[in-house]
Amino acid sequence: MNSAHIVLRVVTKLLFAPILVFALYVQFHGDYGPGGGFQAGVLFAVAFVLYALVFGLEETQKALPPVAAKIGMAAGVLLYALVGVYTLIAGANYLDYDIIVPDSDHHAGQHYGILLVELGVGIAVACTVLTIFYAFAGREPEIDEEDW
């Protein structure tokens, strides 16, 4: 690893964790403030893209292997669809979350359903964006200094 771009590397290291925390906040606070699965997923992926830009693709793929991203893509969509299947089995319409907690006086089922579905969206979006990035970035081993 070269010692160039020390400012960028320090700043990236400082920013990486807060971006992930912010993504989680956007994910799980989507019921109350702006945000939700799509936004959180994109933010989560952007943190890794930033890391890859500064520290290289291989380092990033050690932290989050491409296989994991590929599995996550499918797992997120499956989680969403399975919530619907669960409501069907429980005896309501597809994606009718009220059945999850049937005798709640404040629609707790809706809250759980939305949380799970948004989590599925978040996982799917984050992993898809990362997979696309890995696919693009993997075609060129590293971005050369003079190419910028």
Binding site: G30, D31, Y32, G33, P34, G35, G36, G37, F38, Q39, V42, L43, A45, V46, V49, L50, L53, L57, E58, Q61, P65, P66, V67, M73, A74, G76, V77, Y80, G84, Y94, L95, Y97, H106, H107, Q110, H111, G113, I114, V117, E118, G120, V121, A124, V125, C127, T128, V129, T131, I132, F133, Y134, A135, F136, A137, G138, R139, E140, P141, I143, D147
Partner: protein, 210 residues
Amino acid sequence: MADPLVAGAAAAVAEPFVTPLNATTLLDISLLSMLVVVALVMMRLRHLFAVVMLSGVYSLLSALFFVSLDAVDVAFTEAAVGAGVSTVLLLGAMLLTTRREKLKSAERAPIAMLVVLATGAALIYATWDMPSFGDPNAPANATIGRDYIERTPEDIEVPNIVTAVLASYRGYDTLGETLVIFTAGVGVLILLWPRARRRVGTDDDGGQTP
């Protein structure tokens, strides 16, 4: 209760809404003009690196415009995807090709110009039928939008109505959108992945080559 669509239409006929020319409107107009300027500059430039950077600028300006429209969630998606991920992907794509766009022969330019002008004229003609910007009696605000605002506290009890509409009322649509994103990822994988695996050498799942 009267039919909201009819009531809305009646109100619109009674006194047509005129968008007020206040500071917010002026800000919106200046942001939109900057978008047009950036688009024109991108069209004229031949240096692809500058074009990619300007596309990031374009996305950031759009994000600002969305903030001005109070669509904060859309704004930071635009900032992260448009200015962040897309710019990086375009840079990656640019590295695989030349740095400058070749000048094309202007043989078909008149036809292209005609098509563009006709489409633009049709779009501008269509905007005359649209409600004024910010009209509270516009169909989007008066009918289904008002319905969601009134019903969400009783049906879902989630403070953020956007989330309630997205994940609960329109759960099918959002499942479809998630599937579209998944499909996009699979498409990119099919087109680009095998080459990437050989070059980077992360051959970790069987070394299957097509």
